[in-house]
Symmetry: C2
């Protein structure tokens, strides 16, 4: 399998954490692929017209896009039902957690793009809106932190862990641990797993 | 079930199309909820700290977010495996199609927000980037249009249909049907279904 990959994309990292958890990392050939919101990557468009990573190209040439779809595909390759509970309340809890971590990542990516614009093009309302949503989501995750510890590690944990690590990587100024001690404690257990240590983002 | 809903959100529409296809529409209480990227909805934040719709609140108070998660939950309520193939190549094809339609919707929402900004805050590079990605994705969908007709109607069809209808609703100036005759023909069959007719977006 060929994965359009970057060492700094938190969505790619989710896939690689899942691959390590599932014992599949060595079956993935990572191809360094740079994407920017302002500039489509012309080499990537034939595989993914949305010009987004991660994009997974299978041996038969078929393509999977969207990080959670790729993660579920990898889960199925490893036998299924490992990182994605197959049905019932456990499945909806895992997918709801994933949606919360992933949705906050979506906000953070937009926020970072906004911060990088020339000042006269930035929108103060957007900054304020992103800040409120980020703080409120962190409060919600703090309330869920004890339960994160108590439930089987899965796609929800991976999304939340990658999201918190991305806050450290690109939004260190926010000091997200302040007021979120249980979440900060849980994040240490995420970071200690071999799958996280093998996929740490680096600013090359 | 209570659904945070708007008549003009294409992501909400996906959920409502799925609900109609599954015969569950009358079990959903729609609560008109307005969200803007620049302004968190304070009434929505307790249910969804990301301030996004659709958000589904279940009878036991638990909350599902992310339109595709809500659609899969509804599918499970109706017995499962109806709009979401349970496993195998059919599942990955359906989820890949969903990701393409949904990913183009994500781009169109951002594009519309960009268009709505005061002119001095708009980014010409972003406009160009969104235009290229939209055109390339439509070309890909055109290549898949015959196969859309040939495969069982599911979540991929719903995402693509809602996306094309959103183009009609908010980007009529793009004339997306030009150069995409097979896709335009398929879209007519989407629009003719009762589930689409019952959920048509209206500019109130």
């Amino acid at each position: 399998m060929k994965l359009h990959w970057s060492p700094r994309s938190p969505f790619v990292r989710k896939v690689m954490v899942a691959a390590h958890e599932l014992g599949l990392a060595d079956r993935i050939d990572c191809l360094r692929t740079v994407v920017r919101m302002t500039q489509p990557n012309l080499d990537l468009l034939p595989d993914n017209p949305l010009s987004k990573i991660p994009t997974l190209v299978l041996a038969d040439g078929s393509v999977l896009i969207d990080s959670v779809v790729i993660c579920e595909y990898l889960d199925s390759l490893a036998g299924g039902g490992i990182l994605f509970p197959p049905s019932g309340p456990e499945r909806w809890q895992a997918l709801a957690r994933h949606a919360l971590g992933n949705g906050l990542l979506d906000i953070l990516i937009l926020w970072r793009n906004e911060r990088d614009k020339p000042e006269q093009r930035q929108s103060p309302e957007l900054h304020d809106s992103f800040a409120v949503k980020t703080r409120t989501t962190l409060d919600r995750l703090e309330a869920d932190a004890a339960d994160l510890d108590a439930t089987r590690y899965g796609i929800g944990h991976i999304a939340i862990g990658c999201c918190l690590s991305y806050l450290d990587f690109r939004f260190a100024d926010l000091g997200w641990r302040d007021g979120h001690p249980l979440l900060a404690g849980w994040h240490e257990s995420f970071r200690a797993r071999p799958s996280a240590r093998a996929t740490e983002a680096v600013d090359a």
